[in-house]
Symmetry: C2
Subunit: 338 residues, 2 copies
DNA sequence: TTGTACGCGTTATCAT
DNA sequence: ATGATAACGCGTACAA
């Protein structure tokens, strides 16, 4: 591998000048710059990222932290990873993957060994211990999702409130008045408080009341079996239901068949609208489920952008805080009530 | 941040000794080692990964390369990423994500800037240009999947041949004799040759012939719509079919409903067996699809292990080449023919 | 067993 | 506009 010294010699200049030319740190005479560029081509030179990092104290590496134990996390995750990594590359950064068990040690080690410039935190909970821990370090970080009180933390989150509000409005405009909500029900969610679910429940309740309608909430496991079961509950306990709003991708499949088993057809008898699902998964259902699609690609891109912004404009005010709307995709699971 | 110099001073030794103690490079007197450890604790010392890399010429960073444009790639991908990253961490490495467009430049830049120790290549095609390019560099690399002629390249791949063979055997043992194959049909697959599909078709044909049965192959888009369409073709062109072997996760959903639309029920009238699918996705179908589950977690782990083996035992013979079997999960889509 | 001193390939400071 | 030279923090001959 050719080093800057080789290039410098080859071009009859000092390494300093080569560095200036490469980084545009200081003006370099066009003629010398040309010589340098020729030398670089001839030697196939490429700057050593490690030496660069050691001298400049910036590695241009970002860490993507996510819980090692996934729950649902299906179609959206890959899109998210991919778009985040692509955007990072585009901006001259690399993205590192850190599946963390809930071990505190790891996190501190990771953030203090000088390998990374910043951290992107996925699957943020309402009261996330990782956030508190990171806040004590000096490593810049951005959240995907947000805590209960984000303060001036940098974050990018899905605008579930907006999605629920628009979803209900759409259903109501079609004539639905008995709309129930079904969400997930894992131990994690109930214990630590999973933002999307809590915010969705809150918004749902408020949006229904604001229209003089009665909120009816159900929960079930994030499995088709859970969906079949809850379908029965809904028909038993809220038989007047004409539309179901749900943020439980996997259970959706079971709900369709659970309803069918009881003689109810989607969408003829009951409409269904998924919140925060992915188009790929929703399209697998029969009928294809209409959904408020989670903006996973945008989330990945914006998260990276926000973090890099934080790194490169240290004292930016105000902090980057973005709520990204879902996209309504009207497939075949909604129609006006009879 | 405390450096080794600080620790050395604090413990009244030289940095050399600290380094020896940390790396076990040379023996260190128990007493000195104790003093050093105390000093490290008190100062909260942690080695700087970058300086370490610069001096040792090993970054302990691996790159995971995958095509930026995904096709199917759903449930398995997240598991794969996660398990690979976790295994890397466990072995003292970090995993970097590189969604590459098919741009040659990027690849060479990436491999010559000294940032990574080795490369893990995903979604390897039968004649993969990336492999040829990498072979010309000095960067060690391992394949997930394999080329037509892997030679002595290090790779880990799914044993599709075994999965198909076992799948057919299972169906035949239940009495099925008219088993057709459905696979994917994207431009990429047809043009460059996608190993899993080619190998599956070959094995399927051979396995059928070996049993005196007639192979019938169909292809369709990797969408539910594609599945519905091909279901019609199958009923028209091969009405004697009693079982369908398919490696087209998304189309599977469409096939079930396409068959049902023509009055055929899975599994009563026709059995279905997915090859290389994921349990999560297969469970979403109604009935739940029986499958040969892709060993994505093992693949991620083994790929990383193989690569690290290559890095740390430079002249290992023979090269690590592993074929990982699928796991048969018998859900509810198979039964004996009438 | 421990220490001295140099090298790794850049960036950054201070001259010129 | 360009150049010497000192960091950056750690690994490792070589010496003692």
């Amino acid at each position: 591998m050719a080093t800057m010294r080789d290039v410098a010699r080859h071009a009859n200049v000092s390494v300093t000048t080569v560095s200036f030319a490469l980084n545009n740190t200081k003006p370099v005479a066009p003629a010398t710059r040309a010589r340098i560029e020729v030398a670089m081509k001839e030697l196939g030179f490429q700057r050593n990222a490690i030496a660069r990092a050691l001298a400049s104290k910036r590695t241009h590496i970002l860490a993507l932290l996510f819980p090692a134990l996934q729950h649902q996390f299906s179609g959206t995750a890959v899109n998210f990873f991919t778009s985040a990594a692509a955007k990072a590359n585009e901006l001259g950064y690399s993205l590192m993957l850190w599946p963390l068990s809930n071990d505190a040690e790891e996190l501190t080690e990771l953030t203090t060994n000088g390998l990374i410039d910043g951290v992107l935190l996925m699957e943020v909970q309402l009261d996330d211990p990782r956030v508190e821990r990171l806040a004590k370090t000096t490593v810049p970080f951005a959240l995907i999702g947000r805590t209960r009180e984000p303060g001036d933390l940098t974050y990018v989150d899905v605008n579930f409130e907006d999605a629920v509000e628009r979803g209900i409005e759409h259903l109501v405009s079609l004539g639905h008045r008995n709309i129930c909500l079904v969400d997930g029900n894992t131990p994690t969610h109930r214990l630590v408080g999973y933002g999307p679910i809590v915010r969705t429940e809150t918004t749902y309740t408020a949006a229904m009341r604001a229209r003089g309608l009665t909120p009816r909430m159900f929960s079930c496991d994030e499995t088709p079996a859970g969906g079949r079961e809850v379908a029965g509950h809904i028909l038993d306990e809220a038989p007047e239901t004409t539309a179901i709003l749900f943020m439980n991708e996997n259970a959706g499949f079971g709900m369709v068949s659970g309803l069918r088993a009881r003689g109810k057809v989607v969408p003829d008898d009951i409409s269904m609208l998924a919140i925060g699902s992915s188009p790929e998964i929703a399209a697998l259902s029969d009928p294809e489920i209409s959904l408020m699609a989670s903006p996973s690609v945008e989330l990945g891109q914006m998260g990276v952008e926000a973090l890099i912004g934080l790194l490169e404009n240290p004292a930016e005010t105000p902090p980057q805080q973005a709520l990204v709307p879902c996209t309504f995709i009207d497939n075949a699971s909604i129609r006006a009530p009879r």
